[in-house]
Symmetry: C2
Subunit: 233 residues, 2 copies
């Protein structure tokens, strides 16, 4: 019977998932540095070597948590975008930014794992690059929709994009089809500002600088929206 084989594989899948869940719990409380394979095994009533049947190393377990983290923030961003009237492009952008911030503040250690220092030697590029771009796709779609519907006015002021940047902008434009260079290059800046603000907040840099951090964040995000040419609210 293939069901018995399935039983074995299902047990493996369930145990793998349980390891990930417990590891995420320990990550949430102790941070990435405090995550211990032995502690995970202990909490599962297993011995440490048994865990290595499911994850060949601690870094692989961390990589899995990273992928799941990107997926979680991507999910939050997509839901936030879907909850707003599609024609309200500025509202969508603001909602998406708040979704990132809210998720990061609720999962600071997971956020640190995604956007803080690379914990192992360096990041495994292939596995994580897909989920990592999930949120960027949403930003791109918002800008693309705004441009296609004529709601995005081409920003003026500031220097024009340097010619050698054309290839790079073309690649980034894949996430926001049709959008002109001046908007693409500012989109990258907005992306950096978003995560810069959130990182400052999560990592404590803003602690001694700003008190009403939610108000500042909201205002900054709206100002940036205006800068890139999105309509005011």
């Amino acid at each position: 019977m293939s069901s018995s084989q399935t039983a074995r594989r299902r047990a493996r899948a369930e145990l793998t998932q349980e390891i990930v869940d417990i590891a995420r719990g320990q990550l949430a409380t102790s941070g990435a540095a405090g995550l211990s394979l032995r502690a995970v095994a202990r909490e599962m009533g297993m011995v440490s070597s048994a865990v290595y049947r499911y994850f060949p190393s601690r870094d692989d377990l961390l990589t899995r948590l990273i992928i799941d983290g990107y997926d979680a923030v991507g999910e939050a961003v997509e839901q936030a975008d879907a909850a707003v009237d599609p024609d309200d492009v500025t509202g969508r952008w603001v909602a998406v930014c708040h979704a990132v911030r809210t998720w990061a503040l609720a999962h600071p250690h997971e956020y640190a794992l995604l956007h803080g220092s690379p914990v192992p030697g360096y990041r495994a590029p292939d596995d994580t690059v897909g989920p990592a771009a999930r949120d960027a796709v949403v930003y791109g779609r918002i800008l693309s929709d705004a441009w296609a519907s004529g709601r995005l006015v081409l920003p003026d002021g500031g220097p024009p994009a340097p010619a050698p940047l054309a290839d790079d902008l073309e690649a980034v434009r894949a996430m926001m089809p049709g959008v002109p260079d001046a908007v693409v290059v500012r989109a990258v800046a907005l992306w950096a500002t978003l995560y810069g603000m959130v990182s400052f907040e999560v990592f404590g840099t803003f602690d001694t600088v700003v008190r009403l951090r939610d108000v500042l964040f909201d205002h900054t995000v709206r100002s940036l929206a205006a800068w890139i040419g999105l309509p005011g609210t």
Copy 2:
């Protein structure tokens, strides 16, 4: 003789410095996670317990490295600012941004220690807050000079700063006396963008996105300068 007392104390000071230097070397090659007190002791020909006479814990040694790191980037920023004609406020801002980026790319692990995930439980606030603000003081002075000399034109467009933010903006204004609210609030955004861009680059987020990262950085920094009201070049 106080010279013999000085000899003892000087030996202590020299050994402390040697520990820090070796630790910084190991930080540069192995990263913060790989920095080991025992390895430092080994490289010094000491036994590990002896190092604890100089630093009560590994976290204290890391804190020292953090303070030195903030000092180093602050130094780099101040030198970059001083090397430009003081009246060329935009040039000063661009130079300062490049100084941060250059330092970060040259010392990625140290940068990660400063602006990546907080490695120990959490950062000791009092000791690090002074050196951490050293670069921000330079940004503030540039904007303050620009405003005082009439070279900074009040930016328009975008929503006005919310009233509840007045207190926070007043506090931030301490670093850029006289500058109006609309500029202060954008200065915070610029600060976040600067470190967001550098973090994306140092942490590898841009690896699969942009190739001519120096060109993009320079252009972004100049665009932001125009956004905050600094004159074009």
